[in-house]
C-alpha cells in the first residue's frame, strides 16, 4: 500500500491538462447550465450567458488548479456573468433583480451541485406518481404544452390545472427531498 497516492496531477503535460480542462467543462456543463438558467429564468438569455461563461472559463483556465474542486470555481465565474447580464441596463428586466440573484446564488449553487442526484430521484418519483398526474407533468414539461392546452384536453378550467400542477410539483419536491435525505436513493 505504498503507492496509494496518485501521481497523475504532476504527470499531466500541458496538452493533456488542456484536454482535462475541456473534459471538466464538458462534464459539468449540465450543472453550470442549470445554475445559470435557475438564476436567469429565461432559457434563451441563459444560453447566451452559458456561452459567455464557457468563453471566460476557457480564457481563465490557467487560474484553475488541477485537483481543486472545479465546480465552485466555475460557479463563481458563472455568477459574475449572470450578474453582469442582469445589471445591463440596455436589456429588459429579467426574472430577478441583480441583488436578488446574488442573494439566491448560494442556494442555487447547492441545488445545481446535486443536479444529478435530483434527476435520479426525480425519475423515481415520477414513476411513483398516479398516471394522470404523471401525464400532466409530461404534457407541461416534456411536451411544453401550455396550461390552457392541458386544460382544454382535460375539459377543466385553467386555474384548476394550475392548482393540480402545483400540487404535483409539491409532491415531487417532497419525494425528491425524502429520497435524497434518507439515502434511499443510494
Amino acid at each position: 500500500m505504498t503507492d496509494r497516492s496518485h501521481p497523475a496531477a504532476n504527470r499531466l503535460t500541458a496538452e493533456s491538462a488542456e484536454e482535462h480542462f475541456v473534459q471538466l467543462v464538458t462534464e459539468y456543463q449540465p450543472r453550470i447550465g442549470a445554475y445559470i438558467q435557475s438564476l436567469m429564468g429565461d432559457a434563451n438569455r441563459a444560453a447566451d450567458v452559458l456561452q459567455e461563461t464557457n468563453l471566460v472559463l476557457w480564457r481563465r483556465k490557467s487560474d484553475y488548479q488541477v485537483g481543486k474542486p472545479f465546480l465552485p470555481w466555475a460557479f463563481g465565474i458563472a455568477r459574475l456573468q449572470v450578474l453582469s447580464n442582469l445589471r445591463d441596463k440596455r436589456r429588459a428586466p429579467s426574472l430577478l433583480d441583480a441583488d436578488v440573484a446574488e442573494l439566491v446564488s448560494t442556494e442555487v449553487e447547492t441545488e445545481a451541485e446535486r443536479l444529478h442526484d435530483i434527476q435520479s430521484a426525480l425519475s423515481e418519483c415520477l414513476n411513483s406518481l398516479p398516471e394522470n398526474r404523471r401525464q400532466m407533468i409530461q404534457n407541461r414539461y416534456f411536451e411544453s404544452q401550455t396550461i390552457d392546452q392541458i386544460a382544454n384536453t382535460l375539459s377543466q378550467g385553467s386555474s384548476n390545472v394550475r392548482v393540480t400542477l402545483m400540487r404535483v410539483r409539491r409532491q415531487l419536491a417532497e419525494c425528491i427531498e425524502r429520497r435524497l435525505a434518507t439515502g434511499g436513493a443510494s
Binding site: R11, H20, L115, F142, I147
Partner: protein
C-alpha cells in the same frame, strides 16, 4: 391580488410567461426577505430544468459531450472534425451494428491516470467514451497478443485492441502473438506479430510489415491487400502475404488471386504458387517455396486460443489459491467449486469459516470467465446471494469479476448491505454507467429535517459503460481508504476516479452485517419502487478486504484473472 401569491404560484406563472411586473416585484421582494423562499426558489428552478430535460428519459446522464467544441477555440478541434468527415462514407449500415469498444486489457500501464479530485465525478472520462460512428472491421480473436493497438489515421489516438472491438480506419500494430480481424465485407485476416497493417476500408488493407493469412469467402471477393510494391486482389481464396525487408511474398493456398505489380497488367496466381517481389527497382517476381505452416489459419488460431484459455484459467487458479490466505480478506467467493445443485456459496477464505458462506437465492449457475469455471447469473428481480458478515472494519476493498448484460435498473447492485445504516457500504452501478459507492455517514435523517446534511458522501465514477461492453467480463473494484479519506473506483485495474471524502462525511468504522450480492434486500421499505436493484448479469468472483489495497495490487488481480 398579487400580494396573496405564493412563491410557487409566481414561479409557475413565470414559466408560463404570464408574470406581470407587479408579480415580478413581489417575487423579488419575497426572495429578499425570506431565506425559506430562496431555498424553495432554488429547488423549484432545478426541478423545472430537470423536468424540461427529461423529455426522453430521466435521469439524463451528464456525459453528453456536445458542448465541448463550443468552448474550444475553432482551430483546436477542426482537424479532428475534418478527419471524421472523411470517414463518414464508410458503410454506415453495417457500422450501425458495431459500436466501437476501446477497452484496454493490454497496455494497462500506458494509460494516464485520472487526477485526484475532491468532488465526485470530477474525473476525466476514460477514452472508452469516445463515440464512433464508423467501423470497417472487428477483432474476433487475440492470442498471446502483446502491444496490440490501433492508431487512428491522424496518428494522435491509439487504442488497445480487444476481442469484439470494432475498428475504424487506422493502423493496427501487433508486437507479438496473433490477432484475428474480420473485415465487414466478410474477409478474415489472421495477423502475425510483429506486424503493421493499415485498415483502409471494409474491403481494403495495406500491409506495412509482417505476415497475414487471409480467408476470403466468395461473398467477400474483391478484398484488396496492398503493399508498397504490389497489390493483391482476392478472388475468393485463402492466401498468405508477408512483407519483410526482402520485399513482399504472396502465397496462394486455395483458389486464386489477382496480382498487380507496378503498372503492369494484373496476373492471375493460382493455388500452390509462392511469388516474391524483391525490393529494388526493375526486379520482377521470383518463385519461392510454399511455407503454409508459417501462416496460422483461423482454425489453428482457435486451437491456440483454447490452449491459452486453459493456461489463463490455471494461472487464475494459482493466484486464487494464494489469495485465500490473505489475512486482510473478510470474505472471498472464488466460485470455483461446482455450483450446480448447490444452494450455498462457499466462502473460500483460509482458514475456512463456514459462517460466511452465502445463500444462493434464485440466481442460476452459468459459465464464468473460462468454460470450465462456473459463475452465478442474476436475472430476475429476486436473484441474489445472501451473506452475513459480522464485525467492524476500517478501510474496505471490494473487487469482483462481473459480466453485465445490461444496466436495466436505476441502481444495479453489486454489493449492498440490507438497510443502509451508519457505516454500511453500498456498491452499485447507475443506469448511466457510473459506479456509485457510498458509506452511510449519519445515523438517521428524518423527513422533517431534510437539511440535516447529506447522509453520506457518494463517490461516483465517470461513466464507463457502453452497450458494446455487454457480455464482456469486467473487473470492478472500489477502495474505501479511511486513512487517506479517498474512495477509488477501478475498471480492469485502471483507476476510474479518486474521490476525496470530506471530513464530516468520513466514516472510520465500517460494518456489513446482512447483505446481498447482486441485489438489494431492504426490509425497511418493501413497497418502494426503487427497491428493485437486481443486477442483470453474472458474477464469478468477489473478494472483500478489510484494508485499502494499492493500485498495484488491484492491477495484479486483473493480470492474474483476466479471461
Amino acid at each position: 391580488m398579487s400580494s396573496s401569491k405564493t412563491i410557487e404560484e409566481l414561479l409557475l406563472a413565470s414559466e408560463e410567461g404570464t408574470l406581470n411586473s407587479a408579480d415580478r416585484e413581489q417575487l423579488n421582494e419575497l426572495l429578499r426577505r425570506d431565506p425559506d423562499a430562496r431555498a424553495k426558489f432554488a429547488r423549484w428552478q432545478m426541478m423545472t430544468i430537470s423536468l424540461q430535460e427529461g423529455a426522453s428519459k430521466l435521469p439524463k446522464t451528464e456525459s453528453s459531450s456536445v458542448h465541448a467544441e463550443s468552448i474550444v477555440p475553432a482551430e483546436a478541434n477542426q482537424s479532428v472534425w475534418s478527419e471524421r468527415q472523411i470517414y463518414r462514407w464508410v458503410i454506415a449500415s453495417a457500422a450501425a451494428l458495431l459500436i466501437a469498444v476501446t477497452f484496454r486489457w493490454v497496455q494497462l500501464e500506458t494509460r494516464p491516470s485520472a487526477p485526484v479530485a475532491e468532488t465526485a465525478a470530477t474525473n476525466t472520462r476514460t477514452s472508452a467514451s469516445e463515440p464512433t460512428s464508423s467501423g470497417v472491421a472487428v477483432v474476433t480473436q487475440l492470442v498471446n497478443a502483446r502491444d496490440a493497438v490501433i492508431r487512428d489515421a491522424s496518428g494522435t489516438n491509439s487504442k488497445s485492441l480487444s476481442v469484439n472491438s470494432a475498428l475504424n480506419p487506422g493502423s493496427v500494430r501487433l508486437e507479438s502473438g496473433w490477432a484475428q480481424i474480420e473485415f465487414l465485407n466478410g474477409a478474415t485476416v489472421v495477423l502475425h506479430g510483429p506486424a503493421e497493417m493499415e485498415l483502409v476500408s471494409a474491403a481494403e488493407a495495406i500491409m506495412h510489415r509482417g505476415r497475414i493469412r487471409a480467408e476470403v469467402p466468395p461473398a467477400a471477393r474483391g478484398f484488396v491487400v496492398r503493399t508498397n510494391d504490389m497489390k493483391v486482389v482476392d478472388l475468393g481464396t485463402e492466401f498468405g502475404l508477408e512483407v519483410s525487408e526482402e520485399g513482399s511474398n504472396v502465397q496462394v493456398f486455395d483458389g486464386e488471386v489477382e496480382l498487380q505489380v507496378d503498372e503492369d497488367q494484373p496476373q492471375l496466381v493460382g493455388a500452390g504458387k509462392s511469388l516474391q517481389r524483391r525490393s529494388g527497382v526493375g526486379i520482377g517476381l521470383i518463385d519461392l517455396p510454399m511455407t503454409p505452416e508459417r501462416f496460422v489459419d483461423a482454425a489453428e488460431l482457435q486451437r491456440l486460443a483454447e490452449t491459452q484459455e486453459n493456461q489463463r484459467y490455471q494461472q487464475w487458479r494459482e493466484a486464487s489459491e494464494s489469495l485465500r490466505n490473505d489475512p486482510r480478506l473478510i470474505a472471498y467467493f472464488a466460485m470455483d467449486s461446482p455450483l450446480k445443485g448447490q444452494r450455498f456459496l462457499s466462502n473460500d477464505t483460509v482458514p475456512r469459516n463456514a459462517d460466511l458462506d452465502g445463500a444462493i437465492v434464485g440466481a442460476t449457475v452459468t459459465k464464468g470467465r473460462w468454460d470450465a469455471k462456473p459463475a452465478l447469473q442474476f436475472k430476475r428481480p429476486g436473484d441474489r446471494v445472501r451473506v452475513n458478515v459480522p464485525g467492524e472494519f476500517g478501510s474496505l476493498t471490494m473487487a469482483t469479476w462481473v459480466r453485465i448484460d445490461s444496466l436495466d435498473r436505476w441502481y444495479n447492485s453489486l454489493f449492498l448491505t440490507d438497510s443502509y445504516q451508519l457505516g454500511e457500504p453500498h456498491w452499485q452501478i447507475l443506469d448511466t454507467g457510473e459506479i456509485h459507492f457510498s458509506v452511510r455517514a449519519s445515523t438517521e435523517a428524518s423527513e422533517d429535517q431534510p437539511s440535516v446534511g447529506p447522509p453520506h458522501h457518494v463517490a461516483l465514477s465517470p461513466s464507463f459503460w457502453n452497450p458494446s461492453l455487454s457480455g464482456q467480463w469486467l473487473h470492478l473494484a472500489v477502495v474505501y481508504d479511511v486513512e487517506n479519506a479517498t474512495t477509488t473506483h477501478y475498471l480492469n485495474g485502471d483507476v476510474l476516479s479518486v474521490d476525496r471524502i470530506p471530513d464530516h462525511q468520513l466514516v472510520r468504522t465500517t460494518r456489513i452485517g446482512m447483505a446481498s450480492i447482486g441485489n438489494w434486500s431492504t426490509p425497511l421499505e418493501p413497497d418502494e419502487h426503487f427497491a428493485i436493484r437486481n443486477l442483470n448479469g453474472s458474477m464469478d468472483e468477489l473478494a472483500i478486504f478489510a484494508a485499502a489495497l494499492s493500485p498495484t495490487e488491484i492491477k495484479e488481480m486483473v493480470e492474474h484473472g483476466k479471461p
